[in-house]
Structures are given as structure tokens and as C-alpha cells.
């Protein structure tokens, strides 16, 4: 049963299926960046990065990097036709102003009311927030990619976040290694789960009630 979960690539693949053609998308640094690799054939989303680019493309070949052409994760990127540059006040105007169709972020914890904790575990070390607290506001959908449970087995979908918050009531959908869960009216609503996992088992790995409205789909992804 320990094998019965999606890899990060598979979670990213699943999230990519919900990105419409022509959607404007911001992918958080790290794991969420993988979503771009699984763009659905025939769709051309436009990717935004907080440091001031719309419509950037994948990393260049090693050695071809131009270090003035980077994304928010400080990785070298390329440009697609129709790209544009702008300063960071305009860039976060795009974010806060509701212009992105979807922002996809990582998570330490997501609460059933949509609260997100993803920037800091405790009070030790040097705190760093970047654009996380801005990105959780404004996008039409704020989705999260995450393992369903933490490495120590603790649930990451919880009644209330115990880690410092990134934003309040901001997450609309969670793609986990076991399920797809929407947040509606302060509740987790289960939309899809892995076929081999019982409802009871899934609930036991989740820190707050999973509600069912209508049918629960099968979370089905290719080998990746």
C-alpha cells in the first residue's frame, strides 16, 4: 500500500489537465514549476513570473543561459513569441488585480477553510517570504500541489493550520498524491481519489472531514 500514491510528476500532470487553453498561469517556485512540463497537447497557457515576464518558456540548453532572463526561482528561462517584460509593481498588479486564471503553489498545510501555510515551519532560522503572500490573493483559482501527508505521516489537509499562515481562506483546490479536493464553504469536498484507496483510508490520512457531493471521480494519471 505504500506504493499507492502519485509521484510529484503525476500530481503536476493532474493539475495541468485543469489548465485551459490560453489561461494565464503562475507556477510557484519548485514543485509547482513541474506543471509546465505536462501542458495538455493543443493548449497554450501563458506563464507569468513575479519578477516581470509574461509568456516565458522552458530553460535554455546548458551554456545558453542569459542571467537577465530568469524566473522567480532565479532559474534561467527562455521567451516565447508574444512575451513581455514589466517592472515588479506591474507584475504584482497582475497578481493582486485578479488577472491570473490560476496560481499553483506548494503547501505545508491547507486548512478546510482555505487557509494556506507554505512559507515557514517555525520561528527558527532566517525567514523568507518572497511573493507567496501576494500570489495567494487575486488569481481566479488558487490551487495547491502537495503530498497528502507530510514525511512524518501527519496530515497536510487539516482543520486549522498550525504553521504560520501564508494567507487566509485563499485556496480553492488541492491536488494531492491521493486525491483532488475542492474547498467550498469552509469544507473539504472530495472530487477524485485513487481507485485503490477506500474512502475510510483516505479520511484516516486527512486531518479534517472530507465531504462528498455527488459522485467522486477516479484520480487516474499515466505512468510518468
Amino acid at each position: 500500500m505504500s506504493e499507492l500514491k502519485l509521484s510529484n510528476a503525476q500530481i503536476a500532470w493532474r493539475a495541468a489537465q485543469d489548465i485551459e487553453d490560453g489561461a494565464y498561469v503562475n507556477l510557484g517556485i519548485g514543485f509547482p514549476e513541474m506543471v509546465a512540463q505536462y501542458t495538455v497537447e493543443g493548449r497554450t497557457p501563458v506563464f507569468h513570473t513575479e519578477n516581470g515576464i509574461l509568456n516565458f518558456g522552458p530553460a535554455p540548453a546548458p551554456g545558453d543561459e542569459d542571467w537577465d532572463l530568469i524566473n522567480a526561482g532565479k532559474k534561467a528561462v527562455t521567451l516565447k513569441p508574444g512575451a513581455s517584460f514589466f517592472h515588479q509593481a506591474d507584475s504584482f498588479g497582475i497578481v493582486r488585480g485578479g488577472h491570473l486564471d490560476v496560481a499553483i503553489l506548494g503547501a505545508l498545510q491547507v486548512a478546510q477553510n482555505g487557509d494556506l501555510a507554505n512559507w515557514r515551519v517555525g520561528n527558527k532560522g532566517v525567514p523568507a517570504v518572497g511573493g507567496a503572500m501576494d500570489l495567494v490573493h487575486g488569481a481566479k483559482r488558487v490551487a495547491v500541489l502537495t503530498d497528502h501527508v507530510a514525511k512524518n505521516g501527519a496530515p497536510k489537509l487539516v482543520e486549522e493550520c498550525s504553521f504560520p499562515l501564508t494567507g487566509v481562506g485563499c485556496v480553492t483546490r488541492v491536488y494531492t498524491s491521493l486525491a483532488v479536493v475542492d474547498i467550498e464553504d469552509g469544507r473539504f469536498v472530495l472530487r477524485e481519489k485513487l481507485a485503490g484507496m477506500s474512502m475510510e483510508e483516505l479520511q484516516s490520512l486527512t486531518g479534517a472531514p472530507l465531504h462528498v457531493e455527488g459522485s467522486v471521480g477516479e484520480l487516474s494519471v499515466p505512468e510518468l
Binding site: L54, P81, G82, S84, G97
Partner: protein, 237 residues
């Protein structure tokens, strides 16, 4: 992704009675005359129109007012050359006016586009235009709180567009247009020339395509000031 529409009528067809419409332009520069005239042909009523001015002569916004389409103007200067259309209705109590200092108007529209619900400005503090607005002191100086301004639609005139909606403007025709493009739910652009993606240098884009929904090419756009000086009149076709 191709945001072009075949014609002006299609471009404005979604604008219904009661809508709030931002219209780019300052005085006679940068006005999307062809889009405005298409809107007059479509004929929605009870519109709230946001523009720096309130129409001049017998074309553009003035012709909208003459056609009885405008319930309210939000503007800074409803008294440019030949403002008869607005003046007549205003003096007759048939049109509402929200008068906003020009810089505040620009900043409120930017705030609407940038997700800033309110901000403080020194402009209008201590004047009748600040009446009823919250006031606050920062570092010993007084400021007025102003709210963001958003719209259902923006009508904007660009010089170049690409099919993704990236835009450049022509000279001082830029004025309010980049701000309005940000602040409207649906931004409709008339461009003198529409290029393929990549046709505009990414460093020279004035409005990124994310702010644009529909584009119509109007290859030889009219210029409001020139039309007014020629005594042009627009009436519904």
C-alpha cells in the same frame, strides 16, 4: 490564442444596459472613436462612462450622451472645447457627474487594475471634492482616502497589437489607456495594426496581453480632435 474579432459590432456586442465603461483618451488624443461609434450603433442605455473628459462636439462620447445612452459620467474635466452635449444634460439634471481630480482618477483606475482597494492622496484634501471621504494624517501631513475604480468594459485605442493582446500606444494617446485596460473585466482594443506574436519587442510592450480580451484592427483610425475641428457629427446608423 488569437484575440481578434472580425468587426467592431462583434467587439462591443457584450456591452449591455447599465454597464460601466471606461473609454481611453484625453481631450482629442487616443480616443477609440470607431469603438465608441460602434457602441452607439449597438445602443445600450444607462451606461456609466469613465473618461477624463465628457465628450466634445458631436462625435464620440458627446454623441453617446446625445443618444441618451449615458446615465453617469466619472471624469475630471467635463468642460473641454464644445462640451454642449454633456452641459445640456447636466444642467437639465438628466446626467449624473462624479468629478474626480485627474491624478486621483488615474490612480483610482490603476488601483482597480492592481488590486489595491484604497489608497491615500494629498489631492483634494481640504476641498469640497474630499467631502465625506475618510482623511488620515501621515508624517504630519493630511491625506484623503480614495477607492479603486473598476469597470465592466474598457474601450482602448492602440497603435500596434499582437494577437495575444500585447499593445503599444501612439505618443500622448497613451494617457489613461494602459490603466483602463487593467481595471476592466473585459478590455476591447482597436489597433491600427495587428501583428503576429513576437511582432512587438517584449521590452517595448506598453500593455501586456493579459489585460486584453478582444482586438479589432482599424487600419485607418479617425482622430477625435481632427473630426471635431472638421465639424463631424455621428448619429446611429
Amino acid at each position: 490564442m488569437d484575440k481578434r474579432l472580425p468587426g467592431l459590432a462583434e467587439a462591443v456586442s457584450g456591452i449591455k444596459d447599465g454597464a460601466t465603461v471606461m473609454i481611453g483618451g484625453f481631450g482629442g488624443s487616443g480616443n477609440p472613436i470607431e469603438l465608441v461609434h460602434a457602441l452607439i450603433d449597438a445602443g445600450p442605455k444607462d451606461l456609466t462612462v469613465i473618461n477624463n473628459n465628457a465628450g466634445n462636439g458631436k462625435i464620440g462620447i458627446a454623441a453617446m450622451i446625445d443618444a441618451g445612452m449615458v446615465k453617469k459620467m466619472i471624469c475630471s474635466f467635463p468642460k473641454s472645447s464644445d462640451p454642449r452635449a454633456f452641459t445640456d444634460r447636466y444642467m437639465a439634471g438628466e446626467i449624473e457627474l462624479e468629478l474626480v481630480p485627474q491624478g486621483t482618477l488615474a490612480e483610482r483606475i490603476r488601483a482597480g487594475g492592481a488590486g489595491i482597494p484604497a489608497f491615500y492622496t494629498p489631492a483634494s484634501y481640504g476641498t469640497e471634492l474630499a467631502e465625506g471621504k475618510p482623511v488620515a494624517e501621515f508624517d504630519g501631513k493630511h491625506y484623503v482616502q480614495e477607492r479603486w475604480l473598476k469597470a465592466d468594459f474598457a474601450l482602448v485605442k492602440a497603435e500596434l497589437a499582437d494577437t495575444h493582446g500585447n499593445l503599444t500606444y501612439r505618443m500622448a494617446g497613451r494617457n489613461f489607456s494602459p490603466l483602463m485596460a487593467m481595471a476592466a473585466e473585459t478590455t476591447i482594443v482597436q489597433a491600427t495594426k495587428v501583428l503576429e506574436p513576437g511582432g512587438i519587442d517584449p521590452e517595448q510592450v506598453h500593455t501586456p496581453g493579459i489585460f486584453v480580451n478582444h482586438i479589432v484592427e482599424v487600419a485607418e483610425p479617425q482622430q477625435e480632435e481632427a473630426l471635431i475641428r472638421a465639424g463631424a457629427v455621428y448619429e446611429r446608423a
